[in-house]
Symmetry: C2
Subunit: 201 residues, 2 copies
């Protein structure tokens, strides 16, 4: 069985950098944006649209019943979200079958649970997430700390809802991970080689 | 400043073994039961009694007011709990001043926050905690899984209340730790040398 590492992460915690560096350290594949591109290719939806779908839990259409009888209503947006999620799950499974890899986000820990992935969660305190977001912000963007905090909180809330919708589990619950790493006071490139040692065959 | 490592842990997760092995790996002091002995020596209370106090949050005596005026009532049990906690905090601070060390439990992460300890939390799923407790049970003890689960849950509930009473923080909240390690599927003596590398000077 291939060695699969999944990374869950809070927005601004450096989880993506962590995952990329870890794959480089271990010399294995790294999947992140590639998954979006592949869904887009297979479904003929734009990458931008796919990205927007995989960042939100689908909203169940109302009413789900009329009068006293229940019957399924067809809602194209809801259906499309489910199609994208199913395609994403299929692609992630294919990637995991192909070779050792690191997969960031996208409920991969849940989708690949039968492959027994090593599940990492990367998190940080708000202060350092704000600092990291500010460092990575496009030039000229001048958001206040309060605005950045609102963005970070909103993004994590979306991730939590998305994860909980598809997996039924609480997002970020440490029981769903093998190790949780707080990046508030660490330099990611310094800790990655050590964590990689936990994963060497 | 000395290198201080604090270990919070769920009951049955192997946190104590983890701490002991980590101190051996790093060649530094390890404090656990020694703290109880030292409190006992300084307060002239029996080790057994001190142990029972440090495992429970003190219960605030009622009534705290009589008629319409508030005033502090003196309750010897409550006072004694506070004295033991203060003595414990003093001893832990002294130990941290003396040399590099690993300290298990006892709100040490909070007491020593100014020393910037490396804070580890060790946890596991219920199944593996039951298995570990069964392996360590005294010979002849025949508890069912249900009884063991009740014991584990009760002990962790006590720890949570104790921690929250003295620190004001949620027990086991990953934001209060630098790394959280799930021991459900790992062999502690195999992961300790790797974690030790995170801590080598």
């Amino acid at each position: 069985m291939n060695r699969i590492i999944t990374i869950g992460r809070e927005f601004g915690s450096g989880g993506r950098e962590f995952g990329r560096r870890l794959s480089e350290e271990l010399g294995i594949a790294y999947y992140d944006q590639e998954i979006i591109s592949e869904i887009s290719r297979r479904t003929s939806l734009s990458e931008h649209y796919v990205q927007s779908i995989v960042e939100h839990r689908p909203v169940l259409p109302y009413p789900i019943h009329i009068g006293t009888s229940f019957y399924p209503t067809v809602n194209p947006v809801f259906e499309q979200s489910m199609t994208v999620y199913q395609e994403q799950a299929r692609i992630i499974s294919e990637m995991a079958m192909k070779s050792d890899c690191v997969i960031v986000g996208r409920c991969a820990d849940y989708i690949l649970k039968d492959c027994k992935p090593f599940r990492i969660f990367v998190y940080a305190d708000m202060e350092s997430k704000i600092r990291r977001c500010r460092e990575k912000a496009p030039e000229g963007e001048k958001l206040t700390d309060k605005e950045l905090k609102q963005q970070i909180t909103a993004m994590d809330k979306r991730r939590a809802k998305y994860y909980e919708f598809y997996t039924g589990h609480k997002w970020g619950d440490k029981l769903n991970f093998d190790i949780c790493i707080n990046t508030s006071h660490t330099v990611i490139k310094e800790i990655v080689p050590v964590v990689a040692k936990l994963l060497e065959k």
